[in-house]
Amino acid sequence: MIEIDNLSKTYGERRILRHCSLSVNRGETLVVIGASGSGKSTLLRMIIGLATPDDGTILVDGQDVHALAPAELSRLRRRMGYLFQSGALINWLTVRDNVALPLVERGKTVDSEIDDRVERALRNVGLSGTEKLMPSQLSGGMRKRAGLARSLVTDPEIILYDEPTTGLDPVTAHIIDQLVVELRAKLGVTSVVVSHDMEGVYRVADRVAMLYDGRIIATGTPGEFRDAGDPIVRQFVSGALDGPLGDRSAGPRPKSASPPNREEEGAPPQGSPNKE
């Protein structure tokens, strides 16, 4: 369904992605994990044509996203949903109008059906009763869920989620994960989920890919990731302080005798306060 081939992207001097290849089958949920700033959002943005790769191709359902004419891209995007990291609700519309927007703009749905579908989408993400609120009146997690309702309301075949559960409380995160699983089971939705919440990864993933230093360094089932041998993958999955990730010195350095770094960025240790 989605074929990413030899993708490279540079911002200024910084190489965000280099020669990434990845494929997602129809009806499959692929989770891409990686530290913040590793280029996960950039990868998702390129899949839907919001960012342009320097090199490489992306095929969605056989169509080259970055070679399509605007009208064709528009048609392809109508079959896709995209959850932005921050929700990206239109600031002057109420929650209800935001969720209804894609239906209203398509102009094919009658008003009563729009109401039904908006209500159902909001109920699915646990936001019933917030219809009349403005985006500025919502918490970050609520905004993200309203954004999710907006991307689900059109029943897309492909959904790209940018950190769907980051910033949510554990129960709500579980509900959202459940929703992702249900969408795949009931409607056969193809999904790419970007995440660094490992608990959620195990719940939703059919397959996992890990992005590190601009490359896909590992792909496999969640089970394979749990028992990974690769020191980088193992450290990320376990959230351990000690290991090649987040180390100041260049290059992977799989040794453990050195004293633990206190100012790790990638994976803060549980229970220890942030020291300045």
Partner: protein
């Protein structure tokens, strides 16, 4: 050379936004949203336009009136004030005020939408941001520029008249008579030329500066800093273009098509 490139790129993009917006105004006008924007950015700018126009009229009348009175020509004052406002002052001050109240706001608002991914969200939903966000703003501001300029012209002449009566002892009747006759005097395609040339100039300028504000907003990148940069660029280009457009259109109206 880099800034030159960037400027040309910006100008090209603004033109692209302007042209596509015109297309959307006909294909999909979004009148409700346009009306709301016209109220927010046009009508709410009316008080400041009125105050500025009123005082400018008084100042102009006083400055010129003293000179004219020295030569015993004070009854020409109505002509001077009416012509100055209709041809140049009304359109100019309206547009400059709108740069502050509307163009900068367009750039800031749309720029914020851009950096908070709202513009991207529209694109992902296959909604063209130019049609959804820019076109209604450009249409609203263009329409309101006509209206505000007309108000500025009227209030400027009123302010000038009050000074003429109270400071220079000119009868109201004489001032107004001269003012209105001179505006009606010169016809252009059957309409009072000075008034309409000024209004047309204002409308065109309003369209251009609104397009610049929206285009700069749509090009914003890099958080709050980027939004600030967009606003600054929009304001600078708008002020420069107001003067350039005014000169070019004045040349067309009074040199190329002099009647």
């Amino acid at each position: 050379m880099k800034w030159m490139n960037r400027m040309l790129e910006g100008a090209g993009y603004a033109m692209d936004v302007a042209c596509r917006s015109v297309g959307y105004m006909f294909r999909r006008p979004r009148l409700a949203m346009t009306a709301r924007l016209a109220y927010d950015y046009g009508l709410k700018s009316l008080p400041v336009v009125l105050v500025v126009a009123f005082f400018s009229g008084m100042i102009l009348s006083l400055q010129i009136g003293i000179q004219l009175a020295a030569n015993g020509q004070e009854e020409l004052l109505g002509i001077v004030v009416a012509q100055t406002f209709a041809r140049e002052f009304g359109p100019f001050m309206t547009c400059i005020i709108l740069v502050g109240t509307a163009v900068s706001a367009f750039a800031a608002e749309i720029g914020t939408m851009k950096v908070s991914e709202e513009i991207d969200a529209l694109e992902v939903m296959s909604i063209d941001p130019v049609g959804y966000v820019a076109a209604p703003r450009i249409l609203a501001l263009t329409a309101m520029t006509f209206f505000l300029t007309l108000c500025a012209d009227a209030v400027g002449m009123l302010g000038g008249g009050i000074v003429a009566v109270t400071q220079l002892g000119l009868p109201w009747q004489v001032y107004m008579d001269r003012a209105l006759t001179t505006l009606e005097g010169r016809e252009w395609f059957g309409l009072p030329k000075d008034l309409y040339a000024g209004l047309l100039k204002a409308g065109i300028t309003g369209f251009v500066i609104a397009s610049i504000g929206c285009a700069q907003g749509l090009r914003a990148q890099g958080g709050a800093l980027g939004v600030g940069r967009s606003v600054r660029r929009a304001v600078i280009s708008s002020i420069v273009l107001i003067l350039v457009i005014s000169y070019v259109l004045t040349w067309f109206a009074y040199r190329a098509f002099a009647s």
